[in-house]
Symmetry: C2
Subunit: 198 residues, 2 copies
Amino acid sequence: MATNTRERIVTTTAELFRRQGYNGTGLKQIVAGAAAPFGSVYHFFPGGKEQLGAEVIHVGGRFYQELVEAVWDAAPDAVSGVADVFAGAAETLRQTDYADACPIATVALEVASTNEVLRVATAEVFAAWIESAVERLSAAGIGRAKARELAIAIIALLEGAFVLSRATRTTEALEAAGATAVARVRDAILQGEGRAKP
Amino acid sequence: MATNTRERIVTTTAELFRRQGYNGTGLKQIVAGAAAPFGSVYHFFPGGKEQLGAEVIHVGGRFYQELVEAVWDAAPDAVSGVADVFAGAAETLRQTDYADACPIATVALEVASTNEVLRVATAEVFAAWIESAVERLSAAGIGRAKARELAIAIIALLEGAFVLSRATRTTEALEAAGATAVARVRDAILQGEGRAKP
DNA sequence: GTCTATAGAAGGATAGAC
DNA sequence: GTCTATCCTTCTATAGAC
């Protein structure tokens, strides 16, 4: 999988960030997990922990986006696509002992007011996620402005549900959030077709 | 305001946790901000940083709950109550340079997989918030099961919008999340009255 | 019970051998 | 360019003077 040293460092860091956050993860722990010599970090990332962090945010964000897109696009329509995304996230959370949720949310909150470089990196990832969701909702017949509002709400529901689910160690929040997201998407599509809700 | 040393330590820690998280905040920074001697931390909190953290989570969680309840209860009905909560959160975020959002979300994500004592503390806070919202939604005529699903969704929307808003330094996410929360509460109340949506 | 000094471990970062 | 040894700072925690 991770064949070279640089790759191993990035994937190991991504996994540690997801579970412990940025400040909770040390460079020594990273090189130990990646089975890499300490100096390799500064060889591949002269900017140190911050540069490594920025790359991990971008790579991790893109990877997760592609994962969600694959689940969404495999569904027959947008409503079941959204439902599948939340159901898949709940299943992953259960299987990983409530560890693997959003790869960048923990870091995003940690650095939002303390590190501008990393804050911008997380903002770029979220912007890409929003654009991805807007495209899919637009393709489902929802107007551009409404699609953007919905896309943001869906991502907020997912992120917030991750916070609640990881804290309480139940998937109830992901299920409640998923039901809400599905209902809103369904309503928006029906309204776009000029039909009222039953 | 904070008249004694112990109180100053707790309020200072709460503020630092909100902006930097648990791992990003050192005890030395806490005593410096609280103008307290270092030894006072271990005098009042023999369990060290963990015990202090648990108390800050509980106190901060209760404080924020009372703040939100005050805003919600000042509104004429549940729909505008929810709208006011999101609008107020957005205003606070703008006024504090996107620093003061949820007092425990950052810590909750940091400790969810690394510190069971603090994880339980955050879970207890979220449980209290959910119960508070369920009461208010039930009082608005929404059935208990639906009220719980909605309460969780509203809190998830708020938490997720905080993540997005702090990262992007805009309040667009809070507005989109607020609109979604309001729409869902309105629908639930109308359905409870046996009326369809227009 | 207020406060200082310091221990002992872990943090990020650097220099330089090979 | 792979790897080791080490520097300096910061961290949590403790001991003990006052």
